[in-house]
Structure formats: C-alpha cells, structure tokens
C-alpha cells in the first residue's frame, strides 16, 4: 500500500518539529489554541497522514499567512482571532441524557416532528445509548460496498484510498483559492469522502446524517465527492434540526467532480445556531463549495435551504468544462433577527452547449440582511451557452434588508443569458384573501412563504422537502404582525 511506504518520511518530518515546542503534548488529545506550522504537523501526525497531504497543508498555511480577510461581502462581524481557536481536539462527550439538553432545542424538535429516538442523537447525546445508528450505518455500508461505492470519513479515505485523495484533493478548490478555503486546507480535521465508480447509480441517497460520527467532523470540514463516468449520486448534507456547536467559526470546503455523463445532486439543509435575538453567539458559516463538470453531458445540481447561522457566506459554484454539461443552483435563504446571509452561486461556462439555471429565493425578516451575490461567466469558447437566473426576495418587516448583486460576463455572442430579480413584501391583499377563508395570519404567511419557495423545495428529496417546509415556519415564527 502506498500509505505504508509513505509513513516513514512522515515520522521523520513530524518528529522534527517537537524540538520547538509543546513536546509533552504529543500524546495529548488536544492541541493548544493557536495556529502555526507545529499545529499543522501535529494534526497531520495525529491523523497519520501521508507526506503529500502534510506538504499540501503546509503549502496552504504559507499561502494563508499572505492573505487578507475578504471584506467585500455585505456582512459585519468583529475580527476573528485565529490564534484563539483550538484547531484539533478529540471528540467531546455530549450531554448524557435528554434531560440535560437545552429545553429550547427540545421545543424545536417537537415543532419539527423529529422522532423521539432521533432527538437524542441530534442533541448530541451519546448515540449508541439511545439509538442504534451503528446498525443502520453498517447495513448501509455493506450494500454500498457491494456496488463499489466508497463512502467514508475523510480520515478513513486518507488511510485507505490515498491515491484518490492525492488525485482529486484541491483539484476543484485549490489550496490557495480564498482566505477561508486556504485556512481549511491547512487545518481541516475531517469530513466526508465519496467515490461512485463508473456506471454506478447509487441506490440510495447518501447522507452525512447516517454516517457514523458525522456530527463530530469539527469546524473545518472537508468534503470530496467524485462521480466517475456515467455515475449518479444524490447527496444530502446537514439536517433540519438545529445544530448547536461551541465553535463559532465554521470554514468548510466541499469539492465535487463529475466525469463524463455523471450526475451529482447535492442538497443542503443548514440550520446552525443563529445566535440569540441580539445575534450573540451564533455560528459563522464561511463555506467554499464548488463542483467541476469535467466530462461531456455531466451535471451538478446544488440545492440549499439556509435558515441557520449568524452569518452565512457561501457560493456553491459550477465549473462547466465538459461540452453539454449542466449546472443548477436552487436556494432558499432565510434571515431573521440579526442574521446575515451573503450567498449565491458562480456558473463558469467553458464548454460548448453548456447550460445553467439559478433560482434563488431570499426571505428577510426581523433585522436580517440577505444578499444574493452571483456570477455568470460565458467564456469565449463556450458556444451556445444558456443561462437563466431568477432571484426573488421577500421582505417581512421594515428593518430587514434584501440585496442583489449579480455579475454577468458574456464573451461569446451565441450565448443567451437572462437575469430577473424582484423584491417585494407579502401583499396585504394576499393575507386578507387567506384570512377571509379562515386561516390565521401566521398560517397565511406560512402558506405564502412556502408558495414563494416552492420551486426550490420541489428540487429537494422528498423527506427533506417536508421538513424544510416546517423548518421555514419555525424560522419565521413571530416575525409577522
């Protein structure tokens, strides 16, 4: 195995750094707060990574030191002290039983209709005590294994399939891509890895929800998903139940690769803790997501429902390299109270006859600020490229904001590119119509909001769609009237 042969130099390099510091901590479960080369070597050593990965991390770290925090997004937050973050720590034990869980969270589970046994798992209670997820996981894995599908944690993949990692890691989001992606490249601790071999149609929706230990992937998560020629996969990330986390900064990277005739459907429901009514303590979600349609007729489809986080900063993108490839982006972003979201997509058309569709629905309530920021670029070689963009905003309350910042760059005249956007509030007449038919005002608003988002919900897998609807009404609770 390649991994074995590379272990030796790893040992050599990783043992070198300890003369500079924290020797006693080598065997400890946590690294001290702060970021330097030693910490990166420590993480890599802890995870028994091959040399190429350590080099890659260090290269990213060197680059990161030269970079500045991006300031172009419409979001405001106090500067982050990167030396105050613990970049590696062993998984912590959660609350021992449901009784120890925040009653607010339990109330939300109730509203969402989460099954009793799942509530415990979601709240972070040690899983095997109440819910036998292991058995679910293993039956899953067996079936996938028979078809040649690799679906495991990133760390496992590094050990078992280093050749795939070496080939694809950073091929879509390079280590020097942007401030947060570069930080992630240097210090990521775990994530998901998925490889669908040639011609395989993945029989079930893959979900991090079912992957063992998924909840403990840490704040710098790395996901790599490859669909080889003719493969199909539908991947679900996140879950509708609120996720609490003591880490405020989350900088994840997701890379998708679709080869010839392959299709990837990537759905996200994000409902991280948005902070209290004054916006204190919420999660900063700074994510880089990008997919490359490498081969002909390949397709990548992003669907996202964003209701959580104090600040969301993410732009799931598609690079349409292969001829006839297709990129899609469907998004619902909700901000309430003090939440801020700056989200959108990039569609880079390189190949002939490439098509992209963008449907973005933004809902702002309370004092929330919601921004759609998108780029559609048609390169000179992209003959007959098509793009359609629609982004609508709904305003609820007079203190919120909705912003649209599209960039459209067309360098080939055979392209057809269209962008439409509208912003409005829920019509008084629409609410009145519902009320005179016996609906309460709150129900009326829910009905209208769900109608507004229907185009996106339709793209979600069935069970997700139902939960997303409920989630939306919970997120907007109390913002009417």
């Amino acid at each position: 195995m390649k991994a074995k042969t590379q272990e030796e130099p790893v040992e050599k390099v990783t043992s070198e750094e300890y003369k500079y510091g924290f020797v006693t901590d080598i065997e400890a479960d946590s690294a001290p707060a702060g970021l330097n080369e030693d910490i990166i070597r420590f993480i890599s050593h802890k995870k028994k990574e091959p040399q190429f990965l350590l080099n890659w991390r260090l290269k990213a770290y060197g680059q990161w030191l030269k970079m500045k925090t991006p300031e172009w997004a419409f979001v405001q937050y106090p500067p982050i002290d990167y030396q105050d973050i613990v970049y590696y720590s062993a998984p912590k034990a959660g609350p021992k039983s449901l009784a120890e869980v925040d009653p607010e969270v339990l109330k939300t589970f109730e509203k969402l209709g989460v099954p009793m046994e799942e509530r415990a798992m979601l709240a972070g209670v040690a899983v095997d005590a109440v819910f036998d997820s292991v058995s679910v996981g293993t039956t899953f894995k067996k079936k996938l294994g028979e078809m040649g599908v690799i679906f495991c944690s990133f760390s496992e993949a590094v050990q078992e399939h280093p050749e795939l990692i070496e080939q694809y890691l950073g091929s879509v989001v390079p280590y020097n891509d942007n401030f947060y992606a570069t930080l992630n490249s240097a210090v990521f601790t775990d994530g998901s890895f998925c490889y669908i071999p040639k011609g395989v149609r993945c029989p079930m929706e893959l979900s991090t929800y079912f992957r063992i230990n998924a909840a403990k992937t840490g704040q710098f998560e790395r996901t790599l998903l490859i669909a080889d020629e003719g493969a199909y996969v539908s991947y679900l990330e996140g879950c509708t139940a609120p996720m609490r986390d003591e880490n405020q900064l989350h900088a994840a990277v997701v890379e998708l690769v679709a080869m010839k005739n392959a299709e990837i459907k990537y759905s996200t429901v994000q409902n991280w803790y948005p902070g209290d009514k004054e916006g204190k303590g919420g999660i900063y979600n700074f994510v880089t997501k990008r997919g490359a349609c490498r081969g002909e007729n390949s397709k990548i489809s992003w669907t996202q429902v964003e209701t959580g986080s104090a600040i969301t900063w993410k732009y799931p993108s598609c690079i349409l390299q292969g001829d006839n490839s297709v990129g899609e982006f469907y998004s619902v972003a909700v901000v309430n109270n003090m939440q801020q979201a700056d989200t959108g997509t990039k569609m880079i058309h390189l190949g002939k006859n490439t098509k992209s569709t963008i449907v973005s629905k933004g809902i702002s309530a309370g004092k929330g600020q919601n921004t759609y920021r998108g780029l559609v670029r048609i390169q000179p070689a992209a003959e007959n490229a098509h793009n359609f963009t629609q982004c609508d905003s709904l305003l609820m309350g007079d203190k919120c904001g909705a912003h649209t910042v599209p960039y459209i760059e067309v360098k080939n005249n055979s392209a057809k590119v269209g962008h439409e956007a509208s912003t409005s509030k829920i019509g008084e007449d629409q609410i009145f119509y519902c009320q005179q038919r016996g609906l309460s005002k709150e129900d009326a608003v829910n009905l209208i909001v769900n109608g507004f988002c229907k185009e996106v919900f339709r793209k979600l897998p069935m069970e997700f769609a139902v939960e997303a609807q409920k989630l939306l009404s919970v997120s907007l609770e109390g913002s009417v009237g």
């Binding site: 000179p380 007079d398 912003t423």
Partner: protein, 440 residues
C-alpha cells in the same frame, strides 16, 4: 508641457496651471480647488482593484498617454452647419459651444431670455451667489477621483439657473468640441444646473471630436432640482475614436421633482459614464434611459446609482447596448432603497445585443433594499441576433444585411422612440442609423 498622466503630475502641475484657471478672485473657489486636489491626492487614479472600476483598467490606455494642459485656440468648422448635418434644427434651440474646454461666444447663439432665466458659461458666472452655494455640493470631490480632478482643474461649462415657475420653451444645446489638431489635450468641464420650484428645462450635452489627436474629456454635471421642477437631460457622446471620455452626472432631487436622464453613446476609444441621482424628498421621480453602440476596440462603461432616500419615489432605468467587433460594454447599475424609503417603485433593465462573438458584455444590476413596502425589480439579458427572425426576413426577399439592420434598429430604436422631444428625435434616429451604416 506634456507628461505621462500620473497622479504626481496633476499634483505638481497645479501650482503652475492655477493662474490659467477661472475664478482667481474667488477665495471660496480657490479653497474648493485645493481641497479637491487633496482628495485626489488621497484617492489617486482608479485602478481595476476598485469594485466600481473592476472591468475598466486605465493603466494600459489613458494613463499611458501624455496629454498637454495647454488649450489650443482653434476655430473649428461652422458648428451650426455641423449640427444641422446631424439632424438638429438649431434655430429652435439655445446653442452654446465650448471648444477644447473654453467658451466660444462667437460660435454660440443664445436667444433672448426672459427674466429669471440664466444661461451662461460657468467661468463668467463664478461671482453668482447660486454658483457659490451649489458648486461642488452635489458632485462632491470626496467620492470620485475624476470628480476631484475636475473640481481642481475645471475651466468652464454650462451654468443654468431658473427662477421659480420658469418654463423654458426651447432646449439648451451645449456642444463640447474637441478640435486640437496635432496637439494632445485635456478638458475638464463643469456644468451646474439649478432649477427653482416648478420650473422646467431641457438640456442637451453634446460631446464630439473632430480633427483631433488623443484627448481626454472629463465632464462633471451637477443638478439641483427644487420642488416640482423638471429637467429633461440628454447626453450625446460622439467623441472621436482617439478620445477618452470620463463623465459624471450627479443630481439631487427635492419633493416631486422629475429628472429624466438619457445617455446616447457611440464614440470614444474609452467612455465612462456615471449617472447618480439622490431622491432626497418624497414623490420625486427619476427616469434613466441609455443606449450605447460600440464596435472595433471601443470600451464603454456605464455606471448608475439611484439613491432612494425618501418615501413614495419612483425610478425607472432602461439601458440597452449593441456591440460589434471586439468592443467591450459594462453596465453597473446600483439601486439603493434606504430604510425610510417606503412605497418605493424601482425598476431597472439592461439588455445587450452582441453582433460579434468577440464582443464582451459585463452586466452588474444591483439592488440593495432596506425598506419592506417596496416594489423593486431588475432584469438583465444578453443575447445575439435571432436567427429565426433573420430567416423570416430573408424568406421574404430581404437581404441578410438589411434584415440585420432592421433588427438592430428595432432593438436600439426603442430608446429613440421613447424620446418625446421633437428637437431630438430626428437627430437621434440618424444617430442610430449612421452607426448601423458602419456596422457589419
């Protein structure tokens, strides 16, 4: 004196140039000029690192030029005849002519004006109280480097002031001519338009170049609209292909005022048009129309900013572009609806027709909305000639070339059709047709 356009040059040349600038006896103006120079010192020439200049890089073109500060005295060909040739019935307008940044009384023809109407060249109106009150107030030197440069170096321009209730019958047609023959030049032109309550005027800013070497026109227009006043403003850009044009129009609108702004642009190696309006009081209305036609290596950059500050205001913005050759067009439209601006109705649309597959279009229609009871929309579309429509024409015996012209005119002509002015319509029709005559 001819040096490379650098920030240092403008900072150091000022002392020497000052003596040639108007308003030496006005202390307030001298002060404004120095302050503006200071702002320019802070800002420097814009680079493509600035979001608002992302797609226009001056470093490889304008800033590589050596432009003289001298204003050559040239007597151009009969301007009246030129205007007639371009389709204007000049007998029905007040005509003002500026040549290479200086006012030419002999080429201008101002008709008798009623009391309460001031149409003058700005250099001779600097002692006017209104000028002192408003100059540099709307188009602040703090925001834009070229506006700062303009304030420091401006030589002349239009000053229009209407007293309350004055309805100006004929349009004011202002020609800014660059005719520098063998010498490179730069003109920094400044216009100030102040309309009193319920007054009304039509102004045409017309930029063109003939018999020229490389030149820069840096024009700033400030508009103050009092309650209920209406300004119909049209800017026609027919600069020479050796010319660079950087222009900024900034308006402040009070209650129920109406600002109609049209920009028609065909000329220039590089054209940058900025149009900003602030709807400062309720029920103000703004219409911004524009058409840019480009070919060859031309670069045309349009940036608009509509600031909805008050409730019950409307803004309607429509910009269209036709691009041929290897030309580049940029449309960056920004609508800001502030917290207080409830019942806003803001619409924006940008449509581009690409005639060649080497032309580039960058469109960036932005909305920033902080009020909830609003109707805002924007749209952007970029596409090519409809093959089916061409086929339809051809199947009826019309040549492909003629069919193309008809379709381009159908697309671009909409902007001309919307112009109500009898004075402008024939000339603008010709404007579009002449351009198509040269297009492929």
């Amino acid at each position: 004196m001819s040096n490379l356009m650098t920030q240092d040059l403008y900072l150091s040349a000022f002392t020497a140039r000052q003596a040639f600038l108007p308003g030496q006896d006005q202390a307030w103006l001298k002060d404004l000029r120095l302050k503006a120079l200071e702002h320019f010192k802070q800002a420097g020439f814009p680079t493509d690192k600035l979001e608002s200049w992302k797609y226009t890089n001056l470093a490889n073109n304008l800033l590589k030029m050596s432009l003289s500060f001298e204003l050559p005295k040239v007597t151009p060909s009969a301007v009246t005849a030129q205007l007639k040739k371009r389709g204007f019935e000049v007998e029905k307008a007040h005509v003002m002519v500026f040549v290479n940044g200086a006012y030419s009384a002999e080429l201008s023809s101002l008709k008798t004006l009623p009391k309460g109407v001031v149409i003058q060249n700005l250099a001779s109106a600097l002692a006017h109280e209104t000028v002192k009150t408003y100059l540099g107030q709307v188009a602040s030197a703090q925001k834009k480097a070229f506006t700062a440069l303009n304030m420091a170096y401006f030589t002349d321009g239009l000053f229009l002031n209407l007293a309350a209730g004055q309805l100006l019958e004929w349009p004011i047609h202002v020609v800014y001519l660059s005719a520098n023959a063998s010498q490179t030049t730069q003109s920094h032109l400044r216009n100030l338009i102040v309309l009193g309550n319920d007054s009304r005027a039509q102004v045409i800013e017309h930029y063109w170049g003939e018999n020229v070497s490389a030149y820069l026109t840096n024009a700033v227009t400030e508009v103050v609209l009092s309650q209920g006043s209406v300004l119909d403003h049209t800017k026609i850009g027919q600069e020479d292909l050796k010319g660079f044009h950087v222009g900024s129009i900034e308006a402040k609108q009070n209650e129920a005022s109406q600002f109609i702004s049209r920009t028609f642009s065909v000329g220039g190696a590089l054209t940058r048009n900025e149009i900003d309006t602030t709807l400062a009081q309720k029920k103000a209305e703004s219409v911004m129309d524009g058409l840019y036609l480009s070919k060859g290596q031309q670069h045309v950059d349009t940036r608009t900013f509509i600031d909805h500050l008050s409730p019950n205001c409307n803004s309607h913005e429509t910009f269209k572009g036709v691009l041929d050759g290897e030309s580049t067009a940029i449309f960056d439209g920004f609508i800001l609806v502030r917290e207080n601006a409830q019942k806003t109705d803001a619409r924006q649309s940008n449509k581009n027709l690409q005639l060649s597959n080497t032309a580039k279009v960058y469109s960036k229609p932005q909305l920033q909305i902080y009020a909830d009871d609003v109707k805002c929309s924007h749209g952007s579309a970029t596409g090519q000639m409809d093959e089916e429509a061409l086929f339809y024409f051809q199947s009826r015996g019309i040549s492909r070339a003629d069919a193309k012209k008809a379709l381009v005119y159908a697309f671009a002509g909409e902007m001309v059709e919307r112009v109500p002015s009898e004075y402008l319509k024939p000339a603008l029709t010709k404007f579009v047709q002449d351009w198509m005559g040269g297009a492929s």
